[in-house]
Symmetry: C2
Subunit: 333 residues, 2 copies
């Protein structure tokens, strides 16, 4: 059996910068019609000038691939003029609480100081993408942040707020309380719990932020995604870290899932008997929620087993060394 | 200021075997008068013959150190005769649920099959040391095991049951419900929570079983220990793993705290203003609960800062590279 996916999108992706682009860009551009590019580089992407340079660097690695990088700015207090200038060049602005994940030191530490920027974003119809975690105890962070989501969603009812890489049952529930809330869900949070990370031997390759949660939380995510929830979009949060930053004391957070995302999604949707909902999760929901029209691109998946490499260059991917049932046969535009 | 500790004991210690003994035995024998030696070797210590060999191997590394290894057998269904023969050679028998931690594959999978051995142990006054975790979700394992403790404690009221390396507030509470329950507490569980392991960068050096829990759990442990709870004994659960088994995908569980245990205990007891309770925690409580008389040995701790090495051979210790306020000045018998 084959499946053809129309213009699949990865709505949350870390490509990083420099030489790493040579690894990350083609792997995603071969499989997707577009991806939302996170701005937390070593120097955050927080000006139109930096954003243009970053997009050009990315595009230099995807010639002929019919792939659109949807750029984002790193949230700070932008002037109205800056927002107006940036507007047509970005999909949205990504907000990080300060210090919450990789390269987020320049993030927001006081939410009372960002009202004006949020008002302007609402008026200019610029979506707000949010890494929603508090600075509390690691397992409470997403739950503790829900009140911030509630406050933002109610006070800026016309601001499209995307709760990124959600992981808990409570967050799934919140999604339905406000029309202006959407959410991305990663592949790995649909598959693993904290048990997989620390329950047996420790698995730094599965260590990510937000950390994987309980079986109950995973079940809530799965139920929502596998029932075709219209406000849930696939965002891999794929994040490459070289081996020496993963297999060490002080290991970086991030799961490198981009190369296996579509085949594994096909597998788990098939296992749940809902392959027909995959198109919505990997493209249609995002097109509708963001009102975007990605490049026309068809990805053909076939039921032909392949073994995931142990490493892509020096980065170990999700499901390294394991055999997947679905593989990507070809893409055509 | 100096403190002199009388015959400090480590009531839960992994020395491992082979060449590793050359590292582990002297580090503990220099600081302690005795230690309870865990039997989960690659081939479990489950016969008097193996136990004698293991004790001899250990003793070959502690000549002249006035140190007593308190040996334990790996729990299985022993005959009455075996128990009678072993009795004077062991402090107790250590029970592992099957597969719950390092080298525990030969552990117990069905508690209904071990009644006769427990009855004999009760009659022969042989303590039962227990790694109390279920096979459930990693954060629920200790809580789920409490019903086993309750059942054992009530049905074998004269069997001394030691709940090893306890980590949760619920377990602290259970301790007071049965006279025949005691517990060991590690140094690291008094100091870290899951936040330290996975809240920022991932710390495989702090990864252990049971995994560190919540701030509330740690607080319950600290309150009990720092108020001099008479049924709590120090057991480091120190477990050396070489660098290549810690800094890798599939990292082994265990914190190597033996070399820093007494100086750090002095530091945290001093910080809590209860240095006078340290003697009870590291020796007197264990002597009373187990009815043992360790070798007379005094350890002098002085307030003289020292920096913990980054590695002992190829094993990274707890607090590697950090400076401690207390150091061990000398030991004398």
């Amino acid at each position: 059996m084959d499946i053809t996916l129309e213009s699949p999108l990865d709505m949350h992706l870390h490509l990083r910068e420099g030489d790493t682009l040579d690894l990350t860009v083609p792997l995603t551009a071969d499989h997707f019609a577009g991806a939302v590019i996170m701005p937390n580089l070593v120097a955050p992407v927080d000006s139109l000038n930096n954003l243009r340079k970053y997009r050009q660097a990315i595009e230099s690695y995807c010639h002929g691939k019919n792939f659109r990088p949807y750029m984002t700015l790193f949230f700070k207090n932008y002037s109205r003029q800056e927002l107006e200038e940036c507007r047509e060049h970005i999909l949205g602005i990504k907000l990080y609480p300060a210090g919450i994940t990789t390269q987020s030191e320049a993030g927001v530490s006081d939410f009372s100081t960002i009202e004006k920027t949020l008002e302007d974003m609402q008026e200019l119809n610029i979506p707000l993408l949010v890494h929603g975690e508090s600075n509390g105890f690691v397992l409470d962070r997403e739950r503790e942040f829900l009140e911030v989501y509630r406050s933002l969603a109610s006070r800026f009812p016309d601001l499209h707020i995307i709760m990124e890489h959600i992981t808990t049952a409570d967050t799934v529930q919140l999604l339905d309380e406000f029309d202006n809330l959407s959410a991305t869900v990663t592949l790995h949070h649909l598959m693993i719990t904290l048990d997989d990370v620390i329950g047996d031997l420790l698995r730094p390759d599965l260590f990510c932020k937000p950390v994987a949660k309980t079986p109950r939380d995973r079940e809530a995510l799965r139920q929502a995604v596998f029932s075709g929830h219209p406000k849930l979009m696939f965002g891999s949060d794929s994040a490459p870290h070289p081996r020496h930053k993963k297999e060490c004391i002080g290991c970086a957070a991030g799961v490198f899932s981009a190369p296996v995302a579509l085949p594994l999604l096909a597998q788990i949707f098939e296992d749940e008997g809902c392959l027909e909902l995959l198109q919505g999760f990997v493209s249609a929901n995002a097109c509708r929620r963001y009102d975007i029209s990605p490049p026309a691109k068809q990805i053909l998946l076939t039921q032909s087993p392949w073994q995931v490499p142990h490493y892509y260059k020096n980065v170990s991917p999700f499901f390294a060394g394991q055999t997947l049932r679905w593989s990507i046969n070809s893409s055509f535009s």
